[in-house]
Symmetry: C4
């Protein structure tokens, strides 16, 4: 039987690149966390943010509708409970959901004149 994912996910290497659009660049530097909910019920998700040298911020609430994928821009505070992450600051994410989901992370870095990507599944349990 397929569960359509897990209820606990982790991303370790969060780090917001510079955002400024470059000449000739279609893209804007950013990080995103994508959450896929294949269930016929909504997922109530809690996100915790861990840092290198200060207490975590816990309990950010995210709503992922039934049978939808939600894309969170980590540089858009209004999408992550009003938290404004600093550029070039290391952080990690713990994501807990009321129903099983699948979580993928992406970074698009356009600091230089051509983009570089990181893309990977989170760690789940």
């Amino acid at each position: 039987m397929a569960n359509h994912g897990k209820k606990s996910w982790y991303i370790v290497d969060g780090w917001l690149p510079s955002q400024a659009e470059l000449q000739n660049s279609f893209y804007e530097g950013h990080e995103a966390v994508m959450i896929l909910n294949c269930h016929p019920v909504d997922a109530e998700v809690i996100m915790d943010i861990y840092y290198e040298d200060k207490e975590p911020i816990e309990g950010i609430r995210i709503h992922v509708p039934a049978k939808r994928v939600k894309c969170l821009r980590m540089d858009h505070p209004e999408e992550i409970g009003g938290i404004a992450l600093q550029k070039h600051e290391q952080y990690s994410l713990k994501i807990t959901s009321s129903v099983e989901v699948i979580v993928q992370y992406g970074r698009m870095d356009v600091t230089q004149s051509n983009l570089a990507y990181i893309g990977m599944m989170g760690y789940s349990e």
Copy 2:
């Protein structure tokens, strides 16, 4: 005992980059999903596509022959049941197979004058 994979796979961060070939570029921007079937029997695969703000498209049928790898170009509708994905539209994939397979995802982005890659295994269960 090796099962040669799993029957359920997920890719969360589908997003077709621009396709136009650039000057001096050997490459064409695309996404691909590769399905490896190590069994001596064919795999009958069902692909579902999830979106951010509309109902999923379910039940796309894919045939992966015995002891072969199949490479699906996500920008070629004829390879994915006639579905034409829009460029720059977020989507996710749920892949279910009659026998165990292994699924990998790749994105090649040549929007800028040099390519960037994402490559990773899907999430399986």
Copy 3:
């Protein structure tokens, strides 16, 4: 108890990029498969190569010494049983070991004037 890996591994998206060194490039385009053996005994590894439209090549023998990492260049036939992979040809790998190992894949593409990477763990079971 840590097993130091698994005995079965898979890489799906094998594809040799062009190899020619570019002006000002320190690098040579290639793919590599790295096998880590943390055990105090040697690992006898069998590699099978799957294709899109022809029979797999099975039974390539690889030796990974005790407590060493082995780096296989996929464009060096002498490192993979004399098999000469074609550039730009899709292939997949099945890797089976006498003792548990960990297998990572890397692609370095320098077709354009700046490199792009893919790097990821294989799928294991």
Copy 4:
């Protein structure tokens, strides 16, 4: 129940790129290993380094405080027990922790005039 990770992790394809900053580059080439400890107790971590052709270096001690992420620069000997890794030398990592953690790896390569990334979760058991 979420365990917040695993106690054993592996990274296979360690390889330090050149570090020199290029003209117009904000970045410095490096590899990093990030360890997330979500527990309310500190994690005592042991790192072993494996090579292609010499004995492993075992028993490097790393301290990861409770509810923090630790970012290790692999080109900074003072952060990894005084070990100076050579550039362009293949190595692998085995990481063992007193409590469950999550380990991610990153490489930033700026050898050419634009950066390339590798980013992925380690293998865990």
